[in-house]
């Protein structure tokens, strides 16, 4: 027996871990052999793995993905109380944990693919995987659907008045004004609405005559006006069940519906695109636009090359748009070497314009597309003045989907004083 062992026995410490100890802190009061110790250490290391991975994770990517600022590491000296400090520390840990994004995506895929539930609050998942984008309002999450299917006469007349005003602005510039409204899913596929949509909204969408919807009414009112309202609901509804017509995975219209919509619009504008318009179309795969599901999905879609028109797209052109409207996105210029007409067009739109513009471009020598969603009231006047002065289009097309009526951006443009300047 060694001297150390003799001393330990005197102190009541036995090396088989069974001896009582005088001090509660004494390690030998707790018998922990190599085997269980190793198990505990491995358990600890395994649990620590996500936190460790957090040191090597690109948190900026998470910030961009989740579109929010991540919590910062709190300063212990500046914390107003320890409770505040620990609360902020927890938020920081939550936001900087490794594997968070892939696990988050895994969870949303689990919700979506295994349970058939929508992984985000403002997206509904209907029959056969149809996704419907709702509003962000917590108290009224279905306004995106209800405003389509429940008539609101005051909004229709207010929109009609704005359309008249804007059309007259454009008319004074010597351009043709066309309002184009893309039918979206709640009107085209009301039978696919999920049961989580309140019954009265579902019934309203199923029973409404789309021609009595806001877009239909506005089309009716535009009869005899100096502008046209293009809303080809019946024609598109007749094709809605054809394969890959309007991908269920998409919120925005894509695939064949945009092709047919654009063809019809160009025909309305007396532009004959010819047979080359559908040439070499093939069924391919696109990335679905509902990234806000938390994960990316692919969708089957018709791809139209429009090769014969030799269209070139320049993103973020013309550059002066940025000067007057710095948050503009989805804007660009399509120039066709072999267009169906020699006219130039200006396409002002909401987010649906990005998906329709490539199908309109073959009809024009040049097509300038600008997404107005981020336009502010204070920018509207200067922006519109520049647009009309710089582009001088033959045709102005204001494009939204049926859910984009009323359009706040249209109101902004009509409230500007461009009329006075133009005169």
């Amino acid at each position: 027996m060694s001297q150390k062992q003799q001393r330990d026995i005197t102190r009541g410490i036995h090396h088989d871990g069974t001896g009582g100890a005088d001090s509660a802190a004494d390690s030998d009061a707790v018998g922990l052999r190599a085997g269980p110790k190793l198990m505990i250490v491995l358990l600890a290391l395994g649990l620590f793995l996500p936190a460790f991975a957090g040191f090597f994770t690109n948190h900026k990517a998470r910030q961009n993905w989740e579109k929010r600022e991540l919590a910062a590491l709190p300063n212990v000296l500046q914390a107003s109380s320890s409770k505040v400090f620990f609360t902020e520390l927890e938020a920081f840990i939550d936001d900087h944990m490794g594997f968070a994004t892939p696990l988050n995506q895994a969870y949303r895929k689990l919700q979506f693919y295994v349970f058939g539930d929508s992984p985000v609050a403002n997206v509904s998942v209907g029959d056969e995987g149809f996704v419907f984008l709702n509003s962000h309002s917590v108290s009224r999450p279905h306004t995106a659907i209800s405003k389509l299917c429940l008539r609101n006469a005051s909004q229709i007349s207010k929109t009609a008045k704005a359309m008249d005003t804007f059309a007259s602005i454009i008319d004074r510039q010597g351009a043709t004004m066309t309002y184009a409204v893309v039918p979206s899913k709640p009107l085209l596929y009301p039978d696919r609405l999920p049961y989580t949509t309140p019954a009265r909204f579902r019934e309203a969408c199923l029973s409404i005559d789309p021609l009595q919807s806001a877009a239909g009414q506005l089309r009716e009112r535009a009869q005899g006006a100096d502008y046209r309202v293009y809303f080809p609901f019946s024609e598109l509804a007749a094709m809605r069940d054809e394969p890959a017509f309007y991908p269920p995975e998409n919120f925005h219209s894509a695939s064949r519906i945009n092709h047919e919509f654009a063809r019809g619009l160009l025909h309305e504008l007396d532009i004959d695109v010819g047979r080359a318009y559908s040439k070499d179309a093939y069924l391919g795969v696109i990335r679905a636009d509902m990234d806000l599901l938390g994960f990316r999905r692919d969708a089957d879609a018709w791809i139209y090359p429009y090769a014969d028109y030799e269209t070139v797209f320049s993103h973020r052109e013309p550059s002066w748009v940025v000067r007057h409207y710095p948050r503009a996105r989805d804007f660009g210029t399509f120039v066709s070497a072999n267009p169906a007409s020699t006219r130039s067009a200006l396409l002002l739109s909401n987010s649906f314009g990005k998906y329709v513009a490539p199908h309109l471009a073959p009809g024009f020598k040049s097509l300038h597309h600008i997404n107005l969603n981020a336009l502010r009231k204070t920018e509207a006047e200067a922006f519109l003045r520049q647009v009309l002065a710089q582009i001088q289009p033959d045709d102005v097309i204001y494009l939204v989907h049926d859910g984009g009526i009323p359009s706040a951006q249209l109101y902004m443009l009509t409230e500007s004083d461009v009329l006075g300047v133009a005169e």
Binding site: L32, P36, I40, L47, P50, S81, Y195
Partner: protein
């Protein structure tokens, strides 16, 4: 800090386990981490915790051999109750009972787990006084017993005698670690997968305005809450027991499948066992129990459950809930129980479950008025108005709630790994893995099936933990309903 958060699971717990395993002073490590755990949520109130521990230690030292031990006991218990009363019931007493308007700043903050650690302190003093337990050998022993983080904020309420010896002398075997991990993961799954999903449905239903609450919705909502409260609380208890097991402590089981009870009497033998036994040993029996005639027995039951209800929260709904259960217990004792035993088993189960669910309506309601109209909706025929089942209950919610219905029954008790019941201590069975020589020791061919079962169980545990991690990381709805205790 809640167990089912990233901060606890992936930072605090691994750091603690690493220090506990590697550093030589395990009790001190456990105490420091426990105080840090408390301070994390309560900041400076950790001083209150330390002060109550110090006071109870001082009193405890005088309960053995002192001539005035009964007076010290009265002092100790009274002061503990006063501390609890001040922090928990002052606002209720002033604002709700006496209806004196008082500014918000004057109502004291309710420290986390105060109901639990005060009750543990009282049980310590009473056990020492009755000589059922030795007094703590040091302040640190008592501090570790009271403040130990696994059971600090939500129990189980552990008696000092259960851990007195283990504080000074405990062995941790591989089986303890293995079992601790499985219990912890099982508890985490209960909480994150079942309780949280049920909570979404329950919270949505209980937030419906009067005109939106149909009979069907009311039953869906209370069914969800019945699952939520059990799996939330039982899950937390299992996590506490699991961590305690890894540390070398054997905490008692706290739930024994209460929803398979056939009477309310039986329910209270299965639900929150540590609390009901506390009230039995320290209140019901000292009041006389059932030794002084029928009327006195009923009065004692009524009193105990009135206070039990009050323990759960400072609100009239909790008082009513306690009165509700106390009344039924008295009725069962008075003869209803005998009648019940004559009924078919299925009816007995239905009776017990129905009364428990009615009790949960009262317990869950924010106000007495809400409880009243909710019960009215359950038992009258109110048609649905726009809130369909699909909006209330998603497929995910429904899946986990159905699992909850299944696991509220003892379906796992046949498995060695996932049973909730007290498992055989390591060494009592020759087939337990890792009993003698630790994990990895060579085993005979006849133990192959044991090893296979262990490996399969391990894989299931890892898969469950992975699924829980997915849910936790996604930042899903994660309330802990007993947090306010």
């Amino acid at each position: 800090m809640v167990f089912s958060t990233t901060s606890f699971l992936f930072v605090f717990l691994p750091l603690f386990l690493l220090c506990y395993a590697v550093l030589p002073w395990r009790n001190l490590t456990a105490l420091i981490f426990s105080l840090l755990f408390f301070a994390w949520g309560e900041g400076a109130y950790v001083l209150l915790l330390l002060a109550t521990i110090g006071f109870n230690y001082w009193v405890g030292q005088r309960l053995e051999g002192s001539a005035y031990r009964s007076r010290f006991l009265i002092l100790g218990v009274t002061l503990n109750i006063l501390v609890l009363a001040y922090y928990k019931y002052f606002g209720f007493l002033i604002a709700s009972v006496l209806e004196i308007p008082v500014p918000e700043q004057m109502i004291p903050h309710l420290p986390l787990g105060i109901s639990f650690f005060i009750f543990q302190s009282i049980s310590y003093l009473l056990d020492v006084y009755r000589r059922d337990s030795p007094k703590a050998r040091s302040y640190f022993d008592l501090a570790l017993y009271i403040a130990m983080f696994p059971q600090l904020i939500a129990g189980p309420i552990v008696r000092y005698s259960t851990v007195a010896e283990a504080l000074r002398h405990r062995k941790i075997s591989s089986y303890d670690v293995y079992r601790g991990i499985t219990l912890f993961v099982l508890g985490l799954s209960y909480k994150v997968l079942i309780a949280n999903n049920a909570a979404e449905v329950a919270d949505m239903t209980f937030s419906l305005a009067r005109g939106q609450l149909s009979t069907a919705n009311a039953w869906v909502g209370i069914s969800a809450y019945t699952l939520q409260i059990f799996f939330d609380f039982a899950g937390y208890s299992l996590m506490a027991i699991g961590i305690g097991r890894i540390m070398g402590f054997h905490f008692p089981k706290n739930f024994d499948f209460p929803y398979q009870s056939r009477s309310i009497t039986e329910f209270w033998r299965r639900w929150h066992i540590s609390l009901s036994s506390w009230f039995r040993d320290y209140l019901y029996i000292p009041l006389g129990g059932n030794r002084h005639g029928k009327l006195r027995t009923y009065a004692n039951l009524f009193t105990v459950f009135l206070l039990c209800g009050l323990w759960h929260g400072a609100a009239w709904t909790f008082v009513l809930w306690g009165v509700f259960h106390g009344s039924i217990l008295a009725l069962e004792r008075a003869g209803l129980g005998r009648v019940l035993r004559g009924l078919p088993r299925a009816l007995q189960h239905a009776y017990a479950l129905l009364l428990v669910m009615i009790g949960w309506v009262i317990f869950r309601a924010e106000t007495v008025a809400q409880g009243s109209y909710y019960l009215k909706a359950m038992f009258s025929s109110v048609p649905a108005r726009g809130i369909g089942f699909e909006r209330l209950v998603s497929a995910e919610n429904l899946f986990f709630m159905l699992l909850g219905c299944l696991f509220s029954l003892p379906v796992l008790e046949g498995t060695r790994m996932f049973r909730n019941a007290e498992d055989l201590a390591a060494g009592n069975t020759t087939n337990s893995v890792g009993v003698r020589a630790g994990v990895g020791a060579s085993v005979s061919v006849s133990n192959t099936w044991v090893w296979l079962r262990a490996v399969l169980g391990g894989l299931v545990t890892i898969a469950l933990f992975g699924l829980c991690a997915v849910y936790i990381m996604s930042g899903t709805y994660n309330p802990f309903i007993y947090f306010r205790f």
